[in-house]
Symmetry: C2
Subunit: 430 residues, 2 copies
């Protein structure tokens, strides 16, 4: 006999979230900001109180044999806590977009028609390891006037419970419903299945994690999903690129960090630039141990006598390399004729996440921006900038590679909807 | 042996649409407008040439025993043709939103970040009877830079083929790909199943028709759906409403036309207004043969001696009446305490389509606008205004009662997406 019924638990969370969402939607900006500031304060005050719960998660993870980087991601250090506390305060300082009315114009009938920004309602968030995501998601829910149901990774359950308790206290302190942010209290996998299949309570789910998890959720969800599957990002070095700038951007896009989804996985070089550019970037890649998977033209240049230091790893690319998201010290390299072939290659193989051109040619820049069908398109900047904070959104709940609703880094606006408002003086339709 | 393979046909349409969509996305505004104007001209020139195809559809429909109103909806009269031709010209005269860049701002890193409006790609449109929808959808596809695959009703197949041929000629005349607008050439139902399950080719489907069709498509689609299921719209007469205005608006919202989704199905009246207002509107409803399904308080007033003329149909409402979309000369009527109960009732029973308040109270108006969770919320105007043309969108491909992506009447912007554009001068992430 199982005393804890997952279905009943999720049903209860859903109903409570739905009820809380109506109160959150009409909460004044000052009240929401008060909750965010209270949360920041309580986080800082609780750095020590959080330690035992976090230590239990870490012990369990080590006992289970998780890798050192995985265990690291679980850690709630004073620095992590300060970062999320600061994040709450930054959100509190941002203008409130809820209730904003845009485009109000009078129509020939006399009615005035505009659009009001309102919360989506309830979002479900599914994530792994890092317990700080609990606070990021909670603070975004509060600021955007939504209710949230959070399902963190089982490995961080103790830390997440302790953090969620702080969120509840902060909500209560501001007079907001504590059910506005709820943590799923079980690590049972069935809870995820329920969370994504309650359209009567949950308006959207946002999964963050491995590709397998996201694919499964997209397939099985009965509600809209904000997600990205792959970050197969490209930098194209155009025939008019400045050599130094191209080297700096490609180096940064590939090697500044290997694991983020906005790191470059593919390098395209205009034929006229290949002889001068490839050996320069190749030397940097060689020094940093980056493996280069090259098409024949690039391989010929990089394998030429003296082009690269001994030990440089130049490998022949196969078809699957053009589609792959390595998330590692590997990059695919292809020489293209020019901007046309670059755009065509990217639109065929890219995951529609982020793609950049390095160029001085205004026409090529404009064409790249307009024709590359990706969530973020860039001229003369590193793909690593594709990020909610770098884009000025103030926060990021995820990055979307879908074209619907939210596209690219998703901040507060992605958690809102625009409804039409009509102001009349008694007009009727004739 | 079936010489015509539905799967292969749909696959071919999908691939051709995808290819055409890339060319449409970069087509200059002038070229798209040229195609629209050519289409308008060809429609007017072809009024006679279209007649035989339309006559065959009508004959077949009559032979199949379709009702007179259904047959009427099939008719391509000179007036229908002039209306759709004018619609094309109006679209041509509208500004082009594709390529528009909004919110471009410099970030602390030096990069400038904004959002560019781009076409969604390919939309599939599924509709019934009225052949003029073929032209409406085609012209919206052209203006918005999308490709479209149109699946009209089997009863209008001959008319639709003739109209689609004109669209193709207009596209060719402007130098645009004729595959930008394709009509499904078979009436086989399997074609719909394929159209909604080709995410590799089709970015969104828009069903228009009966609730059964839309429910089936929503359930089975493998791509996003822009849809509305029900239009259970309300008018709430607040305790400070002007009596004349309230009568005018409620009368118009219910009786100006019974079949549209934006007609009112429910009337809520503040208790303080009920004694004065209900007999007035009740007399109008009685005169027009509108059946009134009343809660006990409303029934008591409307059944009082001399309140209504003999023959007025006052019926006791049952629970299901509050949720029903009658699309007929029937209205549900409930007396509520005030704006709180009205908002709660609407948020519980409304289909989130369109709801209106009649009031002089500024606070009540603001609360209604903010708290009623519907696609269109109105103050002192008839719900019948919820329409793309009345809202100034220039055209309407449908009305969405979902909160995601497009909400309310959907015009050209609903067929677009915003991607991030980043302009740098060589910035890298530190």
């Amino acid at each position: 006999m199982n005393a804890f019924n997952v279905n009943e638990h999720m049903q209860a969370l859903g109903l409570q979230a739905k009820t809380a969402s109506a109160r959150m939607a009409k909460a004044p900006a000052a009240t929401k900001n008060q909750a965010l500031k209270a949360l920041a304060r309580r986080l800082r005050e609780s750095a020590e109180a959080l330690a035992p719960a976090n230590a239990r998660d870490i012990e369990r993870a080590q006992a289970a044999g998780l890798s050192a980087p995985m265990v690291d991601r679980l850690k709630l250090t004073p620095k992590t806590i300060e970062t999320v506390a600061l994040g709450c305060e930054q959100l509190a300082a941002m203008p409130d977009v809820i209730g904003e009315v845009i485009g109000m114009r009078q129509q020939p009938s006399g009615i005035r028609v505009g659009q009001m920004r309102v919360p989506i309602g309830v979002f479900g968030m599914i994530y792994e390891s890092r317990p700080n995501v609990t606070i990021e998601a909670a603070s975004l829910a509060i600021k955007s006037g939504n209710a949230a149901i959070l399902r963190g990774g089982s490995e961080a359950i103790e830390s997440n419970k302790a953090l969620a308790a702080l969120v509840g206290e902060a909500l209560a302190e501001a007079g907001l419903p504590v059910e506005a942010v709820q943590l799923v209290q079980t690590t049972d996998r069935e809870a995820v299945g329920r969370l994504i299949a309650m359209p009567e309570f949950v308006d959207v789910v946002i999964p963050r994690g491995g590709k397998g998890l996201i694919e499964r959720i997209s397939r099985e969800a009965k509600v809209p999903v904000i997600k990205h599957l792959d970050g197969n990002c490209h930098v194209y070095v155009d025939d008019t690129a400045e050599l130094d700038m191209a080297v700096r951007i490609v180096d940064n896009a590939k090697t500044q960090k290997y694991s983020p989804c906005n790191a470059a996985e593919g390098l395209l070089v205009a034929a006229s630039m290949a002889e001068s550019f490839l050996p320069e970037i190749g030397a940097i890649f060689a020094a940093k141990g980056v493996e280069m998977r090259c098409d024949p033209a690039a391989a010929r240049i990089l394998r030429a006598e003296g082009a690269l230091p001994p030990g440089a790893r130049v490998v022949d690319a196969v078809e699957s390399d053009w589609s792959e998201e390595y998330l590692a010290a590997v990059i695919s390299i292809k020489v293209v004729e020019g901007v046309d072939e670059a755009i065509a290659h990217i639109n065929r193989y890219s995951s529609h996440h982020t793609d950049a051109i390095v160029t001085r040619d205004h026409m090529h820049a404009q064409r790249f921006l307009r024709e590359v069908d990706s969530a973020s398109v860039m001229v003369n900047a590193s793909t690593r900038f594709a990020d909610g904070f770098e884009f000025g959104l103030g926060a990021e709940i995820g990055i979307s590679t879908d074209k619907f609703h939210a596209r690219g880094p998703v901040g507060i606006e992605g958690l809102t909807s625009l409804k039409y408002v009509v102001l009349g003086q008694g007009e009727v339709r004739s």
